[in-house]
Symmetry: C2
Subunit: 190 residues, 2 copies
DNA sequence: ATACTAAACGGACTATGGTCCGCTTTCTAT
DNA sequence: ATAGAAAGCGGACCATAGTCCGTTTAGTAT
């Protein structure tokens, strides 16, 4: 990405690693991916894996980045009600619904990305989500949008959503309905 | 606690372990406590530590149980507005405030207890909090109290509260104010 | 083509939570 | 007091994330 050329061996190894990681996730799931197995499958030393991605969480974030930036495009530049053009309340409702389905599709990766991080707020996508909600909440007249956005961020925590649906048997619809009720009550009627 | 006598050696070791654990937490903090160090300090085998507490999370929960049950007493049997006697809205506000201060006092232990568990909802105290809020939300006419209580549970996540205050520099007052705003808007005016 | 340098490499090593299982101790029934 | 059974014990062992550092290699300047 930066100016200084990436060495050819580095580029080759990155491709190998990414490809091997995708294979392993596809076959055994993100939970089961170990850094040793990845290094081995990619025919690369363990040190190389960690230099490239920093940590297991970093690897998961890299793996996520495609679908993630697609979702981000949606709420930042896409059509209303998710994108700009609708009222803050409608956008927040759409955002939460979108996020819930996004998490249910990429749940394993997201959980794995958040788990290894000291505070899960370090996940860049989470920061961006928070900022987005903060702006909408400010627009809607919430007194302390930053803190309120944090409450909502945790309410949409990947672990929470995935476990509600997969462990505790709550249907996605119940989650989105409840989110709608939460936002509807939270924000003053239009 | 059940009928069958606890063997005297088991009882002795439990005391040793608890005492050693409290010492270690007091001196180095809960984060820094390792199971090996605990076993060593208590002059006990590592297997004994795990048989007694099951896991690191289990140990932390045991360490918490005193202050925890005190807080639980407060919201279940204590005086209003925290305890029974006040309106659901007031009780929820008081509950959140109490929980925030409780977490700030026992944050390390709580984080450690939640971290090692598969889903942090496994922490018994968390389950109880959830149930308490569920009941109050039902009383206040929320459509899906179980799910809404889960959203609020995550909004009060120990990791969130501790990191907001200690890492992101948010004052406890801002947290409680925002919680009050959240509940006030969420629940219909009395 | 050669020599040089900075980047990249790899895998042994560490830290730590958790498991396993053969040995020891306590309790109880006789 | 003795023997047998059940509970408890301990520490070697395993899995896995992450670090360290001596060695190799790709690019570059001459």
């Amino acid at each position: 990405m930066g100016a200084p050329h990436e060495r050819s061996d580095a580029a080759r190894n990155r491709e190998r690693l990414l490809s091997a990681a995708r294979d392993l996730v596809a076959e055994f799931g993100a939970e089961a991916l170990t850094m040793d197995a990845l290094a081995c499958k990619a025919h690369v030393g363990k040190g190389t894996v960690f230099r490239r991605f920093g940590s297991r969480a970093g690897l998961m974030m890299t793996l996520l980045s495609d679908s993630e930036s697609e979702f981000q495009q949606g709420f930042m530049f896409g059509p209303p009600p998710l994108g700009p053009g609708a009222a803050a309340k409608e956008r927040l409702i759409a955002f939460g619904e979108g996020r819930i389905y996004f998490v249910l599709e990429n749940g394993e990766l997201l959980k794995a990305a958040g788990a290894a991080t000291r505070n899960r707020f370090d996940v860049p996508a989470t920061k961006l989500s928070h900022r987005h909600m903060e702006i909408l909440l400010r627009e809607a007249g919430i007194a302390d949008p930053w803190v309120m956005a944090m409450s909502l961020t945790y309410a949409l925590d990947p672990e929470r959503i995935v476990d509600d649906v997969r462990v505790r048997g709550i249907s996605p619809t119940r989650l989105t309905d409840s989110w709608r009720e939460l936002i509807t009550r939270l924000l003053p009627a239009a």
